[in-house]
Amino acid sequence: MSTILVIDDNDSYRAMLTMFLTEKEFMVIQADNGKSGWKLLHNQKPNLVILDIVMPDQEGIETLIQLRKEYPRLPVIAISGGGKIGPDNYLKLAKAFGADETFEKPVSNTVLLSAIRTLLEP
């Protein structure tokens, strides 16, 4: 069973995603900020990370840069609800810093699921 780490400061979204992914038989671990996400990453070695880019203090991008340095091959999906500088910009940034896939929120679970499956293919 693959483990997915969801890092998002929005509790409801995390809960929804966890429920959905659990239903699809993934093991889900969650963090509501970059720092605790980083710890889980070290301790539990997930197979894939879903990372919200706009969190307080722009931790998303920071986390992504750090993550790419230490785990160059770990699949990362960046998601974002957009904001001041526009959804495109955050996600472009995430792409530039090595996210494998990027999605604007709200993203359909089905779309997300197919991206997860593709990235986890051996």
């Binding site: 526009g86 910009n89 530039a96 810093f97 604007e104 709200p106």
Partner: protein, 626 residues
Amino acid sequence: MSELLRVLLVEDSDEDAELFQRVLQREGFELEITRAVNAKEFSAFIDQKKYDIVVSDFQLIDTNGFKILEIFNTRHLDIPFITVSGRVGEENAVRLMRKGARDYVMKDQLSRLAPVIRRELEEYRARRENEYFERKLKESEAKFSQVFRFSPDPVVITDDKLIIREINYSYLAMFGLMIDEVVGRKIDTLAMWEKHENFIHYLLKMHLGAHSPSTECNMTDAEGKERTIHWSLKSIQVNDEELLLWNGRDLTELKQLEGKLQQTERIHAIGTLAGGIAHDFNNILAVIYGYAEMGLSNSEGKPRFHRYFSEIIRSSDRAKELIKQILTFSRMEEGKRDIIDPAPIVKEALKMIRATIPSTVELKAHIESGHHILANISHIHQIILNLCTNAAYAMKKKPGTLRISLDSIENFCRLQVQDTGVGITPETMKRIFLPYFTTKDVNEGTGLGLSVVHGIVEKYKGSIDVASKPGEGTCFTILLPLSHGDDENNITDEEPNNTLSNIRTDQKILIVDDEPSIVNYLQELLSSSGISVDSETKSIEALKRFLSVPPQTYATVITDQSMPTMTGTELAYRLRKYDPAISFIFITGNEESIPESVIRDLGQGIILSKPVSSGDLLQTLRGFMS
């Protein structure tokens, strides 16, 4: 203190002349005496120069004081004339005085002479002063009467019974009146006041209550235009009579500007707000969307639930679109602007419009090619779509014609969208550009269409004009500056301080970072701002590259600080040896790893902490290059 006295002395006796001189010198006068011994000399000397006083002997050999005075009077001089004599009768003295002599001094009373002269000089001075003030007063009166007459404000003066005494040109011109038909009438019988009787009485009442009242009044001018005039009422005292000064100030234009400004401000405020909430909104929507999807996939065999969840998803989709539109509106989406011919875009948009508008609407288009503007294609598309959608909506109840034209006028590209629909009432007209204002039914309009158009036009430094008659139709005219393509190739449309349009393009920027993804990102960011960029992932390679090109190829080097083999600052020291003008941007996760002294040493250098925002980076570059 001696005073210089210029005297024209008429005296035929040398002895008396000397005596005269002595007496006055003793009294402290410094004298400049011109002496005439007869009438002929007097007439000559009096015209030669300026004198302070004329002193004449009465009894002369060939003439007398009367004759001299007569000559003096023909010159219309204003200086004192004094007669001196041994003997002259009372009668002669009176005659002399009548004819204009200022005084008469007996030779045996010469001690009187000095005081008389002093008094006369004093009076002379006073006379001159009076004349001066009188002249000034006249000038000032003329000036004030001009100010009154030509004041741009309409001004009326009435007495306390409201009878018009004076009225100025502005007033007459504004309301199309002739001066003769106005002066002498009561102010409230003038046509423009007819509707505002209460206003006059309000002002008067306030005035009697010791206030200086002032208030606005909407009046119809000679051309039938509504004007907002701010009237104030004051008492003025003229020749012991109390009059009323009615001073108007035309605020019409000011009000219009104020309205425009308020509208722009509101649009900006709402835009900022919208940008702020869009993020939260999308997050909430993501949750709703996600659960609905799960619900949908779990409702197989339960058609009712299937329908419910489908509805939720459909609504969420709509909400998502709406948020997108709000965001577009709040920042007009960062779009690249190029010099384009809007004609093909307009034609393309018209195809789409033809497909969506009812067949009862006839579409007539006159599209001229070749009027190039600096614009973003999707913005132009949006303008056309929004205007045409509104136009079609205005004609949904009855058949009509939608006319679209594209041409140019002076330095502008002109786009006109005209319908024969219901028109816009004046009341609605005031609000059409406000975000979220709509006359459409719920679910039919977002109230953002015209705001978006307005925003785009404003951004392009163009103008938008609406002409409408209720029941007849509406015509929107948009003017966008024509582009001649000299210096403005591309303008990226981000925040203004993020644009690099003023950066010299003949110099490049070198990026050095051992992280390829960062290099890629920076490269994309800068090249999209129109800067040519080279990059290296190894500091040694960067150094090699630098040495292989002529000096000043690069304006700035952006380098990571912590790199293996050679740090950013080590690299900088070496590069600077070859090009002292180069500037550096050090990107570091730990600011303290670069001492301030190093930056000082390097001259042009700035440290940016990771993660570096694109805005900071561009702004720093701009700072270096401007």
